[in-house]
């Protein structure tokens, strides 16, 4: 009755109403920012009095925005590569090995995902101050890697657990070396897990703010830190332009994920 759409009666309308309103609540602010980034009013009036590309020009003309975007991109790419490689190796260990405390070890690997980021940020900040890694690219990469790795391990172990190991064994029986079998048989079979590990790792690093606020120096900061610092001063539409570019990247990655999923199914 309550779980049958056609038999909900007028409750159906209430449920649909709440759902549509919630979806609008989630979607409209994102569209709103995108619209305002093309608006001609400096005071972010909606609807804007006119349309302009001024804020994008300001964004692109300011070398600090470009530099921070480039820094973010470099860090995110390095973190993605390291996170996938390390996640792959670790996941093979976690799914194939038979040892005590395996579940506990897996839980330990996932803890950075659940603990408050601010605690890690403050702890790493103190630690890096002592060993001189604050404000360095390595500092950013290490701290983002700690946050991204759990997502990577989770995606790849899930894929590996769903993979029938006897196929890999069969390849070995047919004369492949164990390593060759992993590369040529197992890796292609779990490629969807590797792909989502890469996307999650990239986005974790690219969007990360809290640790980055502590890690940043006047000369080296990521895009979210630049947005954060700008927002603390005023609500300039330049941030709307920057936000719109960030949103655009998310949409592109989501479409990519959807396409790959579709490709895998067919």
């Amino acid at each position: 009755m309550l779980l049958n759409f056609d038999r909900l009666g007028w409750w159906k309308l209430v449920l649909i109403g709440i759902t549509v309103l919630t979806a609008a609540f989630l979607l409209l602010p994102i569209l709103f920012i995108a619209a305002l980034s093309f608006g001609s009013s400096q005071w972010l009036i909606f609807p804007p009095p006119g349309w302009t590309l001024q804020w994008y020009r300001e964004l692109l003309a300011d070398p600090r925005w470009l530099e921070s975007a480039w820094t973010s991109f470099q860090i995110a790419i390095i973190v993605t590569v390291l996170s996938v490689l390390l996640g792959l190796v670790t996941s093979f260990g976690l799914t194939r090995a038979r040892f005590m405390f395996r579940e506990a070890l897996k839980a330990l690997f996932l803890t950075p995902m659940i603990l408050p980021v601010v605690v890690l940020a403050v702890a790493l900040y103190a630690f890096f101050l002592q060993i001189g890694l604050n404000g360095t690219l390595s500092g950013f990469v290490i701290s983002h890697l700690v946050l991204a790795l759990p997502f990577s391990i989770l995606s790849i172990t899930n894929a590996l657990e769903g993979f029938d190991k006897s196929i890999e064994d069969a390849a070995v029986l047919c004369g492949a070396s164990p390593f060759e079998a992993k590369i040529r048989v197992t890796l292609p079979a779990i490629s969807h897990g590797i792909f989502s590990a890469a996307i999650f790792s990239f986005l974790t690093s690219w969007d990360e703010v809290v640790v980055a606020i502590f890690m940043a120096s006047p000369t080296l900061q990521t895009l979210p830190v630049k947005v954060w610092a700008t927002l603390r001063q005023d609500l300039t539409p330049v941030v709307a332009a920057a936000s719109t570019l960030l949103i655009l990247l998310t949409v592109l990655l989501m479409v990519l994920v959807a396409l790959v999923r579709k490709g895998l199914k067919s």
């Binding site: 009755m1 090995a97 659940i114 702890a123 103190a126 502590f214």
Partner: protein, 290 residues
């Protein structure tokens, strides 16, 4: 590692070869985690009982001052409010998603995922603009004649609650959807056959069956909210600071590592305690809604 010891234990004459076992594969990540996660957090916590003088002075100060207690209270208040509002909105949405035709549901899912993946700062910025005195929300309310003068919607409890609920909603809806989806519709048909009307079926069958999912989702949102930093810092005012901001302030502007460490430990303990509750009562195997 294991193979070497095994070979020795067996008293074999074959020299222990340096072969990698599966366990060894986890060592690089373990090393990274210990060096850059476990050790730094441990050092921070150690500093809370050693700086400026050894002892529990920092904790006494933290738990004995009305200023800090107000921040704790506010942190729990905001987290509780956000959790409550998210559940109230999230339950009907999760329920609707579970019964809707899949074409319609997939559009809603796409919006949920887009919102979840969109940059946190971009979303918080959107609310800063929307809720400001001259923002769209105030203009709309005045235009509809609901209020005469613009309401203060940012830099206060209202602003943080709206902004954080916005961020937390998908984290309630998605798990709850999973739980409701797994409920057998036949149970509700049985309730109808036994004479239950819609309300009775909702209150006495559907809600209780969805309760483990509600509780798990609520705990997750509550715990996540407790440690939130960015959104409260941008949408909340100085009068309602949250715990994560306090930690950041101790460390960044006051350079007081002892107090920073102590506040971090309080946050950690509360977080871990709530996760323990979650594991104990709503372990993943019990998430099935029965």
């Amino acid at each position: 590692m294991l193979s070497r010891t095994d070979a020795k234990a067996a008293g074999s004459n074959v020299p222990a070869r340096l072969t990698l076992t599966d366990f060894d594969l986890t060592l690089p990540a373990l090393g990274l985690l210990v060096l850059f996660f476990v050790v730094p957090v441990a050092i921070l916590l150690a500093r809370s009982v050693s700086e400026p003088v050894p002892g529990f002075g920092n904790y006494a100060e933290l738990l004995g001052s009305s200023t800090y207690l107000k921040i704790f209270a506010n942190t729990f208040l905001v987290s509780g409010l956000v959790t409550f509002v998210s559940l109230v909105i999230g339950f009907p949405v999760a329920w609707a998603l579970a019964v809707m035709p899949s074409r319609f549901a997939s559009v809603i899912f796409a919006i949920l995922l887009l919102s979840m993946w969109t940059n946190l700062l971009a979303r918080t910025y959107a609310w800063m603009v929307l809720l400001q005195r001259t923002g769209v929300v105030n203009k709309l309310l005045v235009g509809l004649g609901l209020i005469d003068t613009p309401l203060p919607l940012v830099n206060n409890l209202t602003g943080v609650t709206i902004g954080m609920t916005y961020i937390m909603l998908p984290f309630v809806i998605l798990p709850l959807y999973g739980v409701i989806r797994k409920i057998d519709p036949a149970i509700l048909q049985a309730a109808a056959l036994c004479g239950a009307n819609r309300w009775q079926a909702l209150v006495r069958v559907l809600l209780p069956l969805a309760m483990p999912g509600m509780a798990a989702g609520a705990l997750m949102v509550f715990v996540m909210s407790l440690g939130y930093f960015v959104t409260p810092a941008l949408l909340g005012g100085t009068a309602n600071m949250m715990l994560a901001e306090l930690i950041a302030q101790f460390v960044q502007s006051l350079v007081n590592w002892g107090m920073g460490g102590a506040a971090a430990l309080v946050l950690l303990v509360v977080t871990l305690a709530l996760y323990a509750v979650q594991l104990r009562f709503f372990g993943t195997d019990r998430m099935g809604g029965r």
